[in-house]
């Protein structure tokens, strides 16, 4: 009885002092972090007038730089898709020796400094390297040229594609593929008529993410090619040469493009969840 009472009192105590202070505190603390991300972007955007923006958007130099950036990143993405999707499938389905090493290697570009990544690429595709000299003699400039920019973008952004494809394939129930095999489908047919159609949304999401990451790449690109100037490099160059005010409009334009792509990606990622909920 004494025990029950002691608990009873404690419970009453809890009931009295009950306030959702924990959730409140977490909410306040979390909001600070969200603010930390939003405030600089909002601040930069708001301190840039519409006329500054339209002036920047009208500049020939800015426009060709944006075109170059979008195209190089797109080219890198499409080229890597042909390689990254099969790799994602293998990583999702096969348990081979060294699989976890490959998984680690795929993530390397995310964690190494991009200036060092650019330097590493330069070692391989620079003018004095084997690949660089061969391609230069055959007329394809790499360093200081769009092709080199695409390579740099591909290097730093391909992990996003491979990981998205792998996650997409992993979400396809293996039984669907197994049953298809017993019905007479070869591994290739299983891939093209079962795995790929069911994972394409994730793959497309990965492609868009890779594209966005490629567009925003700065460190590796500036080492491979200061000119022709991609937009992130132009933001840096204008800041360095003419100061904050001059660079701001271009930066806002660029962030706007990236956020726009990102919104498309989010909308794309949302739909399948809803339909899956319907299935379950």
């Amino acid at each position: 009885m004494a025990q029950m009472d002691s608990i009873g009192t404690t419970t009453e105590g809890l009931a009295r002092r009950r306030m959702p202070w924990f959730g409140l505190l977490a909410g306040v603390v979390g909001s600070c972090l969200v603010l930390f991300i939003v405030a600089p972007l909002a601040g930069m955007t708001l301190s840039c007038s519409l006329s500054d923006l339209s002036a920047a958007a009208a500049e020939q130099e800015v426009r060709s730089s944006i075109r170059l950036t979008l195209l190089c990143a797109m080219f890198a993405t499409v080229a890597c898709t042909a390689f990254g999707v099969p790799l994602g499938y293998l990583l999702a389905r096969r348990r081979f020796r060294g699989r976890s090493l490959v998984l680690a290697i795929i993530d390397l570009p995310i964690i190494i400094p991009h200036s060092a990544a650019g330097l590493a690429l330069l070692t391989v595709i620079g003018r004095h390297s084997l690949i660089g000299s061969v391609s230069e003699r055959s007329g394809l400039l790499l360093v200081g040229a769009p092709a080199g920019i695409a390579v740099a973008m591909a290097f730093v952004s391909v992990p996003f594609l491979v990981n998205a494809a792998r996650a997409g394939f992993e979400a396809v129930p293996q039984r669907l593929e197994r049953v298809a095999r017993t019905l007479g489908a070869t591994p290739a047919r299983v891939f093209f008529s079962v795995a790929l159609p069911l994972a394409w949304r994730d793959i497309l999401g990965g492609m868009i993410l890779m594209w966005a990451r490629g567009i925003s790449e700065f460190g590796a690109v500036i080492i491979i090619a200061y000119h022709p100037m991609t937009t992130p490099v132009m933001v840096f160059q204008r800041f360095k040469d003419y100061g904050l005010d001059s660079a701001r409009a271009v930066a806002v334009l660029l962030v706007g493009i990236c956020v726009g792509i990102f919104v498309v990606l989010r909308l794309l990622a949302r739909r399948p969840k809803a339909s899956e909920a319907g299935h379950a």
Binding site: P173, L176, R178, A180, R181, T182, G184, T186, P197
Partner: protein, 345 residues
Amino acid sequence: MLELRGIAKRYGRFALEALDLKVMSNEYCVLLGPSGAGKTVILEMLAGLIRPDAGQVLWDGRDITSAAPETRRFAMVYQDYALFPHMSVRANIAFGLRSRGVTRTEAAGRAEAVARNLGIAELLARRPATMSGGEQQRVALARAMVTEPKLLLLDEPLAAVDIAGRRRLRDQLKQLQQRTRTTFLHVTHDIDEAMFLADRAAVILDGRLRQVASPEELFRRPSDRDVARFLGMRNILDVVCSEPGFCRARGVTIHVAGSDVATRHVWIRPEEIILSGQPFDSSARNQFHGHVAQYSRAGDLLAVEVDCGDLELTALVTYASFECLAIQKGRQVYATFKSSATHCF
């Protein structure tokens, strides 16, 4: 004919030791074992989806242990249907034919024919996600059967179907097998399902094949105590039989028809144990006095456990007799059974 020779596999916690089994052509064979015993792994080994650690799979005497799944013509039907969610029912059923190079029109026609046979013709245009469990499983069945497999592998095909649909599907399975004379290999943990469907049933316990027999034979003569327990048989006694017809179980002598010195276990059919408030004279040779230890519902009947000192007997009685005898815990009763109500093994 499918033949397994010494198939062994370790797979996570699942361990299968040297499985030898023959599945005759055109028979409905059921693999019976507790759930979670990895029966799916056995089917996936047969289908060529998983490689056994040791042993051989033979089809009509030819070693197919390392043949690719798509070359075997063993079709699989999974418990969770595994229908292709991005295809219509028609495309699902036609998938196997299309994979084997049948033209689109012919495949569609044959898919429709099979769908009509299984009563799912009206579903052909729909997507699997919108269908009930029973419907999905019939589509899975049609998808497998349309490829005219040499062997149909069924992995607990009724387990995920709701009770209403389960019975209909069970009947359809049996009819389908009898009509097409395809060899069916069906794994399940459900004893009633095995009893209804199987021409022969193979019991696998603890990774070992214990007994292969017709369902009737299985119940009449389980090979050992584990099998009997798994089959849910109550009143299995360990006995010593020194004299034909008489067995001793824990100091009690029981009259058992047909027992001999080889008898190790006796099963007393619980539904043939008669309970009464008073002893009575009858042709029944065994009568024990005891008290009710426990009772509980068992399907449509009540299982009454009677503690007769050295012997614990469970009798199955109807609700009517239960009420009539005013059974409650501790009630003194007599348990009576004929020597022919016993089986020895």
